[in-house]
Amino acid sequence: MTGRIAELRGEAEAAIAAAATSAELEELRVRYLGRKAELPNILRGIAALAPEQRGPTGKAANQARQALEALIGQRAEQLAGGELEEQLQRDVVDVTLPGAPPQPVGHLHLLTATRREIEDVFLGLGFRIAEGPEVETVYYNFDALNFDVTHPTRGRADTFYVNDDVVLRTHTSPMQLRAMEAEPPPLYIIVPGRVYRRDSDATHTPQFHQIEGLAVDEDVTLADLKGTLLAFARAIFGRDREVRLRPHFFPFTEPSIEVDVSCFMAHVPGERCRVCKDTGWIEILGAGMVDPNVFGYVAEYGYDPERIQGFAFGMGIERIAMLRHGVPDLRLLYDNDARFLEQFG
C-alpha cells in the first residue's frame, strides 16, 4: 500500500509541476485530493486495514496529502502571479484619453475671487469683515465723513440720489461710522462691498466694488498704516513689492495719503510699460489717519478723538483685479461672457 502511495505521490508531483494554468491545477487537485480521489480514499479506508499496516499507511498517506497540498498551493501562487501579469498587460489603456464622465469646473467671478483673496490677507492681519447698506443716507455717506457742503462729489453729476437724503453709497467708508457706532474700540475691520458713482468709460463703471479698512486703537499710527499696506501689497502683488506713500486729501482722513505699489511687470528696455507707464509705481488706494471730526460724530460710542486714533484705507477691487490679471477694460468684468468667466476663479 505504501508503494501505491509513493507512486501516486510521484505521479501527482510531476503533474502539478507540469500544470500550465490555474484551471489545470484545479483539475489535478480534484483528481488527486478531491472527494473521489484515490489518496483520500486510502485515508478513509485506513480503519479497514490490518492493525500493523494502519500506522505506516496512514502516515505515508497523510504525508503525501500534505506534500501535495503544499505543492499545489505553491504552484497556484506561481501560476496566479503569471496570469495576473498577463491580465495586467491585457488591461493596458490609452491614458491620454479624457476622464469619463468629464467633471465640470465651475468658477468664481474674478471680482469674488479677488475680493476673497484680499479679505483673507486682512483676516490674517487680524481684521474682521463688516458689511453695510448700499443704499445709504447722506449723513453717513457724506456729512459724518466730514465732506464739506461744497465738496464736488456731493453733486448730482457725481452721485446717484434716491432722494435728497438718500444716495447710493459712493464708497464703503460710511461703514466706518456704522461700525464704530456698533462696537467700541479697539476696532479692526475691513468692509468689502458694492459702490456707485456716475461715471462710465473703460476705467469707470457706475457700479464697482471697494474694500474699506479701519483700525482704531489707542496708538495706531501712520507708520502702522504703512506696514499694514506693505503686508497687503506683498501678499497680493508679490513678496518683492514696495509701497510708496504720497500725501493727498480726503475729507475723512488727516493726514491723507495715496498709496502706490512698485510695478510688478517685467520691464523690457525700450518698451513702455503698459501698467506703470515707466514710472515704476502704480496707484492702488487712498488712505490716511481718521480725521478727528469723524470721531467727533461717534464720540459718544467710545471714540473720543483725544483718547483714540486710527487709520482707514479704501481700494477698488476692480482695479486690483485688472492690474493683477492684465484685464484691459473694466466693462469686461460686467459682460459676464463665459469665455471671460472661465479664465479666472
Binding site: 468658477h107 469683515i129 463665459a338
Partner: protein
C-alpha cells in the same frame, strides 16, 4: 490747473528739471497729473529777423517775397502770406530745420516758383497767441537779427498739469504753487508780485458808489477805477503765458483779469465804468425769477439765493460766477472799474449748480478764498493796468466789508510734539516741524510742549486743528521715505469670518464645485423689466428703489430680484454662440419700504439649462451643504411655468418661505430669446441664518442601519412630499430617513396612478435592529398610506 514752469520759475526756481520738480511736488502733496510741453521743443532755428524788403510775389497776389536779415551777416529769402509784413519790421523767424509746436519741420521750399527758406511766424504758429492773420511784429527793445527767439518770447515751456484737491484753493494760482515748490525743494521764494501796490487805500471816492446789501453773501467787495484806458492786444509775453496756462487771450484788460487770477488765485472782474448805469453798483440777492444776461449771451433765471451785482438798469453780473454782457469791457471802453471781491463759498457752489454755470471764478470762490486776496488782486491788476493799457488810476479804493490790509484775524493752533510722534509713528523734532511749517508760510513760536502755530490767511479754511498741522509736517517731512513700516499692536483683535460670511462662501463654493460659473450683474435695471418678467401690478417686487438721476432711463431702478441679471447674462452668451451656461449670482437685491433706507438682502440665484429638477438638484445640494432642512410646495411665480414651479421653504414649525424654483415661463424665455431654462432664487441671508453652524455629534456608526425599500402606488395628483410626510409620521422614532428614489408611471399600473419607490432607513441608537423590530413599523407605514392616499403596495 495748468502751471507753465516758465511762469512758476519767476517766483521759485528750483534747480530741477520739470519732471523732478513734479515728483517733488507729488511726494509733498500736490498731485501732478502729467507734465506737458507747450510751444516749440527745440529752440534751435528760431531767431529774430529784420525784414529788409517785402516785395509782391510775381505769381501770387497774397504772397510777398521778403529778404530777411537773420543775423550773422546772413540774409534769407522768405515768402510770406501775412498782409502786414513790411520792410523794417523785427519779426519771428523759423529757419530751415526748425520744428514747429505741431511737430512739422521747416525746410527750404518753393512757393509758386519762388524759393523760400523758412517762415516768418504768426503768434498762433508758435502757440503763444490766437492770431493767425498777421505776422508777429516784435518791439524794438535793442533786439538784433539772429538773437535767439526764446530769449525774447516764452516760446517753449513745460507745463505742470496739477490736480488741486478741493481743500487747497490757494494752489489755484501760480504763486500758490510757487509756495509749495519752495516748501518742497527749499529753493528761494521771491516776494509775492502784489507786495508793492501802486494804488492807495486812504480814500474811496473813485467816482462809483458800491452798496453791499447782501453782506452775508459778500464778506468783502473792493473796486478801483481807471481812466484813459486803451483797449488793445496784450503784449506777446502775457499772451504766451495765458496760452500756456490754457486761457485764450482776448484784449489787454480782460487778459489782465485772467492773468491776475491765474497768478494769485483771486478772480477779478472788469466793468466798463461808463456802462454802469447811475454810477452805482448794488450787491444784493436776486428777486425770484429775475433774469440776467451773462457774458455768454445766455439769459439766466435767478432766485433769492442767488447774489447779483446790479446797477440802476438792473443786474449786470451773477456775483462770483459770471459777468453780464451789458457792462462788459468793449473795444471802445476807456474807463474801467476793476472789481475784486470775496463771496460766500457754499452760496457760490449752490448758485453754480443751480444755474448749471461753472466758470474759473466760481470754481475758485466755491472753495473759499481768503478776503485778503481781494486786495492782492487789486494791487497786481493795478500794476498791469498802468503798465499795459496806459491807464490813469483814480486815487483810492472802495473796500466794503474789508478789515483793512492784513488786519483779519489769524488763528493760532498748538502743535504738541507728542501728537506729531503719536500720530505718525516716527520721531520728528520740534525744530524740524517748525522748519517745515515756516517754509509753508506758517509762523511758529516755541512752547513747553510744542509749537504755537500762526496760520497764514491763504490756509485759514484748510488748517484749523492740530491734526491739520500734523499733516503739513508729515507731508513735508516725507510720509514715504521717513516713515517706518510697522504693524498695529491690535490687542484683542482676531481676524475671523463671521458664521454668515463663512456660510455664504460655502454656498458659492458648492455651486462652483458643481460646475456653475458665477456672474456679477448690474444693480441697476430698466423700469420695463418688471413687465418683461410679467410681474403683476401689485407684485411687491415692483417696489423699487428708484434713482433720481440715473446714468440713463433704462438704469433707473435698483433690482428687486436677481433673475433679470441672470437672464441678461444667459442671453449675452447664447447670442454669442456660447449656449446657455449654468450660472449663479450671489448679490444684493433692494426693496423700497416705508423706512428711510430700503430693505436689502443678499440673494443667491441660479439659472441652468434644463427643467425644474436640474435647478432643484443644485438647490438641494446647496441646502444640504449648509445643513438646512428644506421643503418644497407647488407655488407659482409670474415668471415661472405655472405647473413646474415651487416655493422653497426651510425649517419647520413654521416653515419659512425663502425663495422659488422652477422652469422659467416660456413667455419670459421668449422675451430673452432663450429656451428651456430653469432657475431658483433664495434669500441667502435667511438661509444662512437657519443653518446649523456647529452640528452636534450623532452616533451613526455603533449600530448598523436597516434599509428596506417599498413601492407604493398612489394617484398621480398626490405629491411625493405628502407621501413622505405620511411615511415619516407613521415611521415614528425608528425611521431615520425616507427618500423617494424612483418614480414609475406606465403599463404596469393603472392610468392616473403613479408608483413611488421609497427607501426607508431604520436605526436605533442603542442596538442593532432586526427584521422583527422593523416589520410592524413598515406595516404601520403601509397601512397609513393606504388610509390616507389609497396607496397600494406594489410587487
Amino acid at each position: 490747473m495748468r502751471v507753465p514752469v516758465e511762469w512758476l520759475r519767476e517766483y521759485c526756481a528750483p534747480d530741477l528739471p520739470a519732471a523732478e520738480l513734479a515728483t517733488r511736488l507729488a511726494m509733498t502733496g500736490t498731485e501732478v497729473d502729467r507734465v506737458e510741453h507747450h510751444g516749440v521743443r527745440e529752440l534751435d532755428h528760431f531767431v529774430v529777423g529784420h525784414v529788409l524788403s517785402a516785395e509782391q510775389h510775381p505769381d501770387a497776389d497774397r504772397l510777398k517775397v521778403c529778404v530777411v536779415d537773420v543775423g550773422g551777416g546772413e540774409q534769407a529769402q522768405i515768402v510770406c502770406g501775412a498782409p502786414n509784413v513790411a520792410a523794417g519790421q523785427l519779426v519771428a523767424v523759423g529757419r530751415p530745420g526748425a520744428v514747429m509746436p505741431d511737430g512739422t519741420k521747416l525746410g527750404r521750399a518753393k512757393l509758386r516758383g519762388v524759393a523760400s527758406a523758412g517762415m516768418i511766424l504768426a503768434e498762433d504758429e508758435l502757440a503763444i497767441g490766437p492770431d493767425h492773420s498777421e505776422t508777429l511784429v516784435l518791439s524794438d527793445d535793442g533786439l538784433q537779427p539772429g538773437d535767439p527767439l526764446a530769449a525774447v518770447l516764452p516760446i517753449s515751456t513745460d507745463v505742470l498739469e496739477l490736480e488741486i484737491t478741493p481743500n487747497r484753493p490757494d494752489c489755484l494760482g501760480v504763486y500758490g504753487v510757487a509756495r509749495e515748490a519752495h516748501a518742497a525743494t527749499g529753493a528761494r521764494l521771491r516776494a509775492a508780485p502784489w507786495e508793492d501796490d501802486p494804488g492807495s487805500l486812504d480814500r474811496d471816492d473813485i467816482g462809483v458808489e458800491i452798496a453791499v446789501e447782501a453782506t452775508d453773501l459778500c464778506p468783502r467787495f473792493t473796486a478801483r477805477a481807471f481812466h484813459d484806458v486803451r483797449i488793445g492786444p496784450s503784449p506777446p509775453w502775457l499772451k504766451a503765458r495765458l496760452m500756456a496756462a490754457g486761457q485764450r487771450p482776448i484784449n489787454n484788460v480782460v487778459d489782465i483779469t485772467n492773468y491776475v487770477m491765474l497768478l494769485s488765485g483771486q478772480p477779478m472782474h472788469a466793468f466798463d465804468l461808463d456802462r454802469i448805469e447811475g454810477r452805482r453798483l448794488v450787491v444784493r440777492r436776486a428777486a425770484d425769477g429775475e433774469q440776467v444776461v451773462t457774458l455768454d449771451e445766455q439769459t439766466r433765471i435767478a432766485d433769492a439765493d442767488v447774489c447779483l451785482i446790479a446797477d440802476a438798469a438792473g443786474p449786470t453780473s451773477i456775483a462770483g460766477v459770471m459777468g453780464g454782457n451789458r457792462s462788459e469791457v468793449q473795444d471802445d471802453t476807456t474807463s474801467v472799474l476793476m472789481e475784486a471781491a470775496s463771496w460766500d463759498a457754499p452760496n457760490i457752489h449752490s448758485t453754480s449748480l443751480k444755474l448749471g454755470l461753472r466758470s474759473e471764478a466760481s470754481g475758485r470762490f466755491e472753495k473759499g478764498l481768503a478776503p485778503e486776496q481781494a486786495l492782492d488782486g487789486q494791487a497786481l491788476a493795478t500794476k498791469l493796468m498802468l503798465e499795459l493799457t496806459g491807464a490813469r488810476l483814480v486815487p483810492g479804493t472802495v473796500d466794503v466789508g474789508g478789515a483793512g490790509a492784513d488786519s483779519y484775524a489769524r488763528s493760532v493752533i498748538r502743535l504738541r510734539d507728542a501728537q506729531v510722534v503719536g500720530l505718525l509713528g516716527v520721531a520728528i523734532t520740534r525744530s524740524q516741524s517748525a522748519l517745515h511749517l515756516q517754509r509753508l508760510g506758517f509762523e511758529t513760536a516755541e512752547r513747553p510742549d510744542g509749537l504755537d502755530v500762526n496760520v497764514p490767511s491763504w490756509r485759514r479754511n484748510d488748517v484749523t486743528r492740530e491734526a491739520d498741522l500734523v499733516e503739513e509736517v508729515a507731508r513735508l517731512h516725507g510720509v514715504n521715505d521717513q516713515l517706518p513700516a510697522t504693524l498695529p499692536r491690535r490687542r484683542g483683535a482676531i481676524g475671523v469670518l463671521a458664521p454668515a460670511q463663512r456660510l455664504r462662501r460655502r454656498a458659492e463654493d458648492v455651486l462652483v464645485g458643481r460646475g456653475l460659473r458665477e456672474i456679477v450683474g448690474w444693480s441697476f435695471e430698466s423700469p420695463t423689466r418688471d413687465d418683461r418678467l410679467r410681474l403683476a401690478a401689485d407684485d411687491p417686487r415692483r417696489a423699487h428703489v428708484v434713482i433720481e438721476n440715473p446714468m440713463s432711463e433704462d438704469a433707473a431702478n435698483m433690482r428687486s430680484t436677481l433673475l433679470g441679471s441672470l437672464l441678461d447674462v444667459a442671453r449675452h452668451n447664447a447670442a454669442r454662440g456660447q449656449g446657455v451656461p449654468a450660472i449663479f449670482e450671489s448679490g444684493r437685491v433692494y426693496l423700497a419700504g416705508s423706512a428711510t433706507l430700503p430693505h436689502e438682502h443678499h440673494a443667491l440665484g441660479v439659472l441652468v439649462p434644463g427643467d425644474i429638477f436640474a435647478a432643484k438638484g443644485y438647490l438641494e445640494a446647496l441646502l444640504r451643504a449648509l445643513r438646512v432642512t428644506s421643503s418644497f410646495a407647488a407655488a407659482s411665480q409670474p415668471f415661472l411655468h405655472p405647473g413646474r414651479s415651487a416655493a422653497v421653504r426651510i425649517g419647520s414649525r413654521p416653515a419659512q418661505a425663502v425663495g422659488w424654483v422652477g422652469d422659467v415661463h416660456p413667455l419670459v424665455t421668449r422675451e430673452w430669446d432663450l429656451e428651456a431654462i430653469a432657475a431658483f432664487e433664495i434669500d441667502l441671508d435667511a438661509v444662512v441664518a437657519a443653518a446649523r453652524v456647529v452640528p452636534e455629534y450623532e452616533d451613526l456608526t455603533s449600530f448598523p442601519e436597516l434599509r428596506e425599500d417599498i413601492a407604493i402606488v398612489v394617484d398621480e395628483t398626490v405629491p411625493a412630499a405628502a407621501v413622505l410626510d405620511a411615511v415619516r409620521a407613521a415611521g415614528g422614532r425608528l425611521l431615520a430617513r425616507a427618500e423617494v428614489f424612483d418614480v414609475y408611471r406606465g403599463e404596469q399600473i393603472a392610468t392616473g396612478r403613479t408608483s413611488l419607490a421609497i427607501a426607508l432607513t431604520f436605526r436605533a441608537r442603542e442596538r442593532t435592529l432586526t427584521d422583527e423590530d422593523v416589520a410592524p413599523v413598515r406595516a404601520k407605514i403601509v397601512e397609513r398610506l393606504r388610509e390616507q392616499f389609497g396607496g397600494e403596495l406594489r410587487g
